[in-house]
Symmetry: C3
Subunit: 270 residues, 3 copies
């Protein structure tokens, strides 16, 4: 896509402030990743200030990776605040389905906050949407199944969905992008999915098209991983090289390297 260059340049020019209410495991990596690509992070996860902080931000990221009851409350407060201000809200339902607490928390957030897009792996998205499948099974499904999961989840949740995996599927029910960049070492570093969700939030803040901005963000991210993997084949140094690549990756390189298939779902279904 030719507008990816402009999209990335616009993120780096605007330096959007992304308010992250995220889990303790990835909070440092998320902040460093956002700084590296040219955005600005703020982490404020207390009930006492979540609402007010969201008013300062250009985008909001909600990640349920290490949740408490107070955190869920803070997420709802921040989410409603973001909706009032009209900034994008990304939901990352980490491990939803693993415990009933996470499942209930995700539901509560979806009921109370207008989410711009949900990002998860196939198991998380299936679980969130209540699709019939077990997580083990979903992980082994084919790319065709990923598209069906994404579409079924959009229908069920009434929210655009990003299913990430070996390929990445992005759809709002009308358009669908299937992306084919990335590197397996991403799965050996904790928080790479979580950081991606924050990066998507940053990109959404500079674009009117959710699915196009998401496709640009995911492509940018995955190509940075490909470049990092040219320098190393082990996860410690990969994480370092990946942060470097997020910082150094030129926008036109992303346009030239992105493997994006664009499907018009509406037409197809006619």
């Amino acid at each position: 896509m030719s507008d990816i260059t402009a999209l990335i340049d616009s993120v780096r020019t605007k330096q959007p402030l992304v308010h992250n209410i995220t889990n303790q495991v990835v909070i440092n990596f998320t902040a460093n990743g956002l700084y590296a690509l040219g955005a600005a992070p703020v982490m404020a996860n207390a009930v006492e200030e979540a609402k007010e902080m969201a008013q300062n931000a250009d985008a909001l990221l909600l990640n349920i990776g290490t949740l408490t009851t107070a955190q869920v409350e803070a997420m709802v407060l921040a989410g409603k605040s973001a909706n009032e201000k009209g900034i994008p809200v990304v939901l990352d339902p980490v491990g939803v389905g693993a415990t009933s607490f996470r499942t209930e928390a995700a539901k509560k957030i979806l009921e109370n906050v207008k989410i711009s897009v949900v990002r998860g792996n196939a198991g998380e998205i299936s679980s969130l949407a209540g699709l019939e499948s077990n997580m083990k099974g979903v992980d082994g499904t084919s790319d065709e199944d990923f598209k069906e999961i994404a579409l079924a989840a959009v229908k069920q949740l009434q929210v655009p969905v990003i299913v990430t995996g070996k390929q990445d599927v992005i759809t709002d029910g009308n358009q669908m992008f299937v992306l084919d960049n990335g590197h397996p070492l991403l799965t050996k570093v904790t928080g790479t999915g979580c950081l991606l969700s924050s990066v998507i939030a940053a990109f959404l803040s500079t674009s009117d098209s959710i699915v196009k901005a998401a496709a640009g963000a995911v492509s940018f991210y995955n190509i940075a991983a490909e470049i990092a993997a040219e320098h190393t084949s082990a996860p410690g140094s990969f994480q370092v090289a990946f942060l470097d690549a997020l910082y150094q990756l030129k926008s036109n390189v992303v346009s030239e390297t992105a493997k994006i298939e664009h499907l018009d779902i509406t037409k197809k279904e006619e």
Copy 2:
């Protein structure tokens, strides 16, 4: 030991899910370390889901490094849940003795949860077992004292014990392993002791012998540190090289490099 190769291979094949309730300082490093060696981490430290998450796991790690009253409660819930399921539980009593809150918390955990093994430095193990010694003094004691501390702690706590330091002593009161690998740079990176405890939990999940699995885990870990230290002499790059080494270290190299002395305590005492 010849079975170390098989032990490491079995961890990497099984990819055990280690549920960590650990401190905020090391939570990211722990997750990355477990991924690097081939295990899978999950961090769920809320009272609301600790019990349920432990049921999904192959091993449980309890670390009291940054504790709150709610965390202690979550640890007891997860620990009892792990006991029910029959998975190993490792206790890392970080800083026990430094405050009465930590001491009481460790006691409460020991009273309510069947612990598979406790890992700490000589000061922590002495303090946990109520042995008469001050922490400063213990740190300066000889290797002989380390063995006595370990044995006295096993007698007192009725739990296998790992005392890590320049040498590492592992004993259940019947057998004792004294290990002599490692590198001083490990003491310059925060969380290397904590991650080791999680690695031990991963290894315990694939073996019936607690002390043998622990000896394999500690040897594997310390030899990874030796390899990392061949690439650098400063702590920032050492941490990176260490994660790389956990990922790349071949199991047979550990068998060939491990310096393990095996003592039959029972015989000795007859």
Copy 3:
């Protein structure tokens, strides 16, 4: 300054234990940074043990980056405990002014704890001292304005102040140091300001002069950044190289490289 060499050597010899009550984002980086330079970190942020842990420490760092009501309480308890023991207390008012909760928390700490020195950027210091300026505006002000902000804040808060930025201004109202080392990559790694505050706490514990110790700490820190930037121009590898530099940087190199202007404010005002 010729006594910087002695100051750094004394920190490394004494290995002061710095008790940090800090935010979740930077807690790991702070611990690793303190270890790297030769100090010892302890992180204990629970109300249940904050008071007791401060009694073990040589210095206390209070950082309001990810705050809850319980954290504020813990900070006040630890601060009072530190005051009783007579150890230095550094306040880092991260993001003060961004939400009323942070502003109130900072005020409460200042009212209840005798702070040795406050460190922040120009916007944070202005906001904390209630100076008339908005944060965006302050970031663009000239070096002269930084000096005025620092002096006005000292007058208002009755506490020595460090304003960090492109140049760093340190003053207690009588003496002023203006420092001119550092590197822009510091702004691309999360927590570099926060770690600096902890490093200042470590240095304060070995010196009677707050402003001199602070000038030594900031110079040491910024020169480590300059050395790290000789090895890389991207933030991931910069963070690694920076930790290495904190570990390897020789004290006499700091004395020789430090760009410190010493102003006698009292004389000037006569």
